[in-house]
């Protein structure tokens, strides 16, 4: 499989992290955070997810680049199958 999952997944978490952090910044101090015990959950967790997403994305890109350098993997055409 040539699609490294970390790339789309990292991208998704980065975007979610950005959305939450920006929203958290915009609503800082708003009464909606009474439910989360006064903590700006959006901002903090958004930053955590942003970091996680970026890490995944970069790991995926690096791995993809390394595989591209190595070239295609030979397929074993003589694989013996044990009857159906």
């Amino acid at each position: 499989m040539s699609l490294d999952l970390r790339i789309p997944m990292g991208l998704m978490f980065t975007l979610v992290g950005v959305i939450l952090s920006v929203f958290g910044l915009a609503t800082n101090g708003s009464p909606i955070y009474a439910a989360s015990l006064g903590i700006n959950a959006n901002l903090w967790w958004g930053l955590v997810l942003l970091v996680f997403g970026l890490t995944m994305f970069l790991m995926g890109r690096r791995s993809q680049a390394r595989l591209a350098e190595l070239g295609p993997v030979p397929v074993d055409k003589n694989e013996v199958r044990r009857g159906h």
């Binding site: 499989m1 999952l5 789309p8 998704m12 979610v16 989360s36 959950a41």
Partner: protein, 609 residues
Amino acid sequence: MLNLTSVDWLIMLLYFVFVLGIGFALKRYMKTSKDFFQAGRALPAWICGLAFISANLGAQEVIGMGASGAKYGLETAHFYGIGAIPAMIFVGIFMMPFYYGSKARSVPEFLRMRFDEKTRALNACSFAVMTVFSSGISMYAMARLIQALHVFDGLFRLLGWAPEGIFTFSIVLSAVIVLAYIFLGGLTSAIYNEVLQFFLIIAGFLPLVLLGLKNIGGWEGLKASVPMQYMHEWKGVAHASTNPMGIEIIGLGMGLGFVLGSGYWCTDFLVIQTAMASKNMESARKVPLIAAVPKMLFPFLVILPGLLAIGLPTPHTTTVVKTMADGSIIHEVNVVSPQVEQGRGLVPAKINPVTGKAMLDTNGDPLLDYDMATPNMLLHFFPTGILGLGLTALLASFMSGMAGNVTAFNTVFTYDLYQSYIHKNGSDRHYMAVGRWATVGGILLSIGTAYAAINFNNIMDTLQLVFSFVNAPLFATFLLGMFWKRATGHAAFTGLIAGTATAMIHHGLTLPMLAHPGIHGGWITVVHTYHSDMAQNFWTAIWAFSANFVVTVIVSYCTMARPESELVGLVHSLTPKPKRPENELWWQRPETLALAVLVGAIALNIFFY
């Protein structure tokens, strides 16, 4: 009350876009049926490992574990300690060489290789039914949850649609999305989305647990708020009446650990398919072990919200009298619905929709709707924004539960039913097409079962019941098949039938304590009463396993054995040990990982004694 803003919708939409996007991106790699049904047998161990446990993290885990946590306390963690971990170690180290080495394309196909055609047919049919049932349950649970949380109410009001359509809309929406990404990307798509869902669950539930614990006063605060036996995994397990689940240690140990745990983790194609998608034997063996690590830690993510929900104070209707500075007196009344007030903590009571009053058990206490424990926790603690993330995590777990079931179904249908009995020598492209259509059929059947009702107040109980009928006898067959060369096809077949029949009869003859005869058992006549549903399920499993084991052994001796040459690679005593890859260091061996997992699991159990 639920107030979803555009941020929440944006996050949800983003998730759906990525899920479909991954499906589309994978479509061009789907060149052969092996790519479609088996992910090309080319995936790395870590992806398969996370998908392995994630395949199991559907409706039953996230909502059900929360519900069980609220109902039974930490003993629920037994499902991990006793049920899953040893089974996962066993399947990784001892059974994977046969599953992966035989190159079988599905679990029923392995049975055909080891035993005979009719054993395969029996397993394929029962598995197909069970997996579609599970998928339907996921769909139903998701739709019901969406309805109960009023997630789409705002959307429907905006569009001017009748709110009665929300249930159907949810079902159709989830069906279409899952259908789309599996149709396009096959098993790879399902596995990738399962891994995505794994991280989403952590992203959605970790902040919830942190906030909940902070609110209730940390671990000590939690201990003080719930009944003492909820906080112990093992204490009081010697007798049924001293622990919340009402099971004695033999029932717990044998039933859960050995039979049900192994029956699921060692034979259910839903999880095995992710291990069989690995790129080589070493990876395949490590997959269940890798999966065991988050499996040990997940109790904290999914059971704790249930415990916290029960431990938090129950909201009551309050009137606060305030005297204002200008001399006026204000009564501030905070009204809480009777459903919430008669509940416990954040767990509401079940209301009879006809009379509007709380439904009562045989003691006269209100029946609690435990399934709402986790969702209510989300609503209670999460402001808009992160709430969208939490809800997306929930939806993701339901959908990937469905997806795993559907890919298992389409593989078993295409290879074990269609190719075996309907059209033996078609081209590879033909089978790929069949697989895609089987996906459509599977989803339609799931929708059908979703409209069938659920009678238990805890999804876990229902699933355990179904699993115990089908799975518990199954494990005996595999155990004997892989480790006893004398086991024969006729024996396996009769054993399976005997096991399932025994399970049904046992269910018909026994009843849990506070229940009425019917779907809970006792439909033949009540010969024995158990302390709880769970206890009854476990004993059903033990009986089924034993019956299968005994019958298989007896019939094996009465029938002709297969020549040993045919069983090489399928039975332990006739298979050469798997070759170690070159340069493998001692800590890279699967056995080392297994030992580490075992030690970790025992340590956790001691800590929560």
